[in-house]
């Protein structure tokens, strides 16, 4: 076994895993926040996530054809697509809640779940239809922004690109902002109150419907930002791209303890790291017997083990336990 090689790539794999992990964490927040207040899984969240990526790519392509992509400072462009992606995904999440979940609020738990799966299918093909009208192509490529592709070579095998730093910084900033909003503001207090007990919260003068909409707005917005970052980092999106990252982010939310915001971040990071290490190391360690294709099996096997010993997730369902 080639130990210098195994050690040499370690930092790079760690970095890859962290980037992927933050991506999962941002998406997982949408699942976990909705679960926190409504106790149901919003399976349409993977499409809400990819809508952010589509809004980002459309703006970038618009800027490119207007010749502005090169002349505007890249930080500004990035901020613009992030904000636009967040706004679009957030608004869509609110709309989905209003149209597909609120009428079913008092129906048995399974009913909104099925509604969510239906919305997910609907959105996938709606995006496909929308993109096909003008381009007749729904595989969209993020235009390259050269400053984002700049790399810093740390050693021969390890390097960091600007866009991976952007992903990490943006994710950290947003997670911190969310933490502040949820824990230090009146709105955050209201969200937590609704999560604990809707009836009591409404007796305290909290407009429950508004808070639920707000939760969808914030969760959807985080998902939209993740979508834009996903597009910038990996470059190629189509209407079905959201499904697998969405599923994994949902897993991350469960791993961290569904309904638990710090748990979602931690679950995302753990899953991202597991996946990156499995994909990079499996074939090296087993001499090619198990390759990168086993990364998900490996990652999910570990997840099952964790959940056997900690069935409520790494950090547990904090909100529910308090209730």
């Amino acid at each position: 076994m080639d130990f210098p090689l195994l050690l040499g790539i370690f930092p790079q794999v760690l970095l890859d895993g962290i980037i992927l992990g933050f991506m999962y964490a941002l998406i997982a927040l949408g699942y976990t926040m909705v679960y926190g207040v409504l106790e149901f899984i919003n399976f349409a969240h993977s499409e809400i996530f990819i809508v952010g990526a589509f809004v980002g790519v459309e703006i970038l392509m618009g800027l490119k054809s207007a010749g502005l992509l090169e002349s505007l400072p890249w930080v500004l462009v990035l901020l613009l697509i992030l904000v636009a992606g967040m706004a679009a995904s957030g608004a869509l999440a609110v709309l989905v809640e209003r149209a597909a979940y609120r009428p079913l609020r008092h129906a048995p738990r399974l009913i909104p779940l099925i509604s969510a799966i239906g919305v997910s299918f609907f959105l996938q093909d709606a995006i496909r239809l929308f993109e096909s009208i003008w381009n007749n192509a729904f595989n969209l490529v993020y235009p390259t922004m050269d400053p984002l592709n700049r790399r810093f070579e740390l050693t021969e095998t390890i390097d960091v690109s600007v866009k991976s730093l952007v992903v990490i910084v943006a994710a950290l900033l947003m997670l911190w902002a969310l933490h502040v909003v949820v824990n230090r503001t009146r709105i955050g207090t209201a969200i937590r109150a609704v999560a604990e007990d809707q009836a009591a919260a409404s007796l305290m003068g909290i407009n429950v419907n508004r808070i639920i909409s707000l939760t969808f707005l914030i969760g959807g917005g985080m998902g939209g930002a993740a979508g834009v970052l996903f597009g910038v980092q990996y470059g190629l999106i189509n209407p079905y791209t959201g499904f697998i990252p969405g599923l994994k982010a949902f897993t991350a939310a469960v791993l961290g303890g569904i309904g638990n915001i710090p748990g979602a971040m931690m679950g995302g990071l753990v899953l991202g790291l597991l996946e990156a290490f499995a994909a990079s190391y499996l074939s090296l360690l087993t001499g090619g017997a198990f390759g990168a294709e086993y990364k998900d099996i490996f990652a999910f096997a570990i997840l099952i083990l964790i959940l056997i010993f900690r069935p409520k997730g790494l950090l547990g369902e904090i909100v529910r336990e308090r209730a």
Binding site: L5, D125, R128, A137, N139, V141, L236, E293
Partner: protein, 397 residues
Amino acid sequence: MRNLRVRYLVTVVAALALVLPVTSVADAQSKGTIKIATQSPLSGGQAALGEGIKLGAQLAIEKFKGNLEKAGYKVELVPYDDQAKPDVGVANAKNIIADKAIMAVIGHLNSGVAIPSSEVYKEVNLAMVSPANTNPTVTDRGYPNIYRVCGRDDVQGKVGAEFAQGLKAKSVYIVHDKTTYGQGVADFFKEDAEKKGIKVLGFEGTEEKSNFDPIITPIKAKNPDLIYFGGIYEQAAPFFKQAREKGVKAKFMGPDGMDSSDLTKIAGKTVVGMYYTSVAGPVSVYPDAKQFADEYKKKFGKNPEPFAAQAYDATAIALKALEAVTKGGKAPTRDAVTAAVRDVRYKGITGSVQFDAKGDPKTALYFVLQVASDDPQKWGDNKEVKRLTIAAPAAKK
């Protein structure tokens, strides 16, 4: 799944209603309709190539249906969307054999879809003429109703490995997509590369479509001279793009699955200069295909994708067989058409085709091409680096 299929069917039918011109042949003494089906991915990541197969077949039918129409038949194209998925292909195949008017199938794009689907065609001895399926198993099963107009992966892998040796590559890292086609051709490449003394540093399969970081990191550390991707451009393009952006310096290479303008649309300048082997050269290498390319462009407003010309030829062969069968006023049967395809001698736009006992063309052309430009519009300008005419290997028993 059922719902999915229904959804796609509805979308496809709706799209076709828009795309297909209504062919109304006012023929009073009509003897009925002969249908030719295409099966290729019309949606999803490989739709660019699948669409080319459908349009190539459409052009051939419009061009060659004259004799059959004179004989009193209406000729129709029925395109099916196999979504590049084996289960969808098989489900479509069952619908196809249930439609008694369908006399031949042109398809598929993916060997992994063609092989199970052709098991269904075989039940009723329905002729399948493939424009693009290169996996050896497609014809090596020896089914009488399976034909292809293109070359084979066992030869293509060897051509690739020989070329890699010519590039003075000492080491190669092989990545494949785990499909029958992709892993198949990667295996053949590996086998021949090892024989030629090229060191295989890794052989990795992945279904990943967006995030290739964890696969690229070990590749970068092992620093191969060449990376070979056995698979299709929709996966290879983001892979190569991310690899180059991460600073991998190896030369890139792949099989005919790379052959689509979408490769440069996705990967841009990162794949300029990469090599790919192909069983279907760009239209420009076939002197007889120029007219086809012009007509295609005029009619559909875009350049023909690879395999469009092969689909055109495959359809023409099916129509020739139908003409032979209906000669003398006989009604065509599937058995008769299947048998007649073997006897067709046809000089098509991609060369002369004559089938051997397995259904392979007796000799096929193999190309090595190099990507010339990062502009998808200029995909047709890709340089032909090497061209070989190789006979199909005899069936292994």
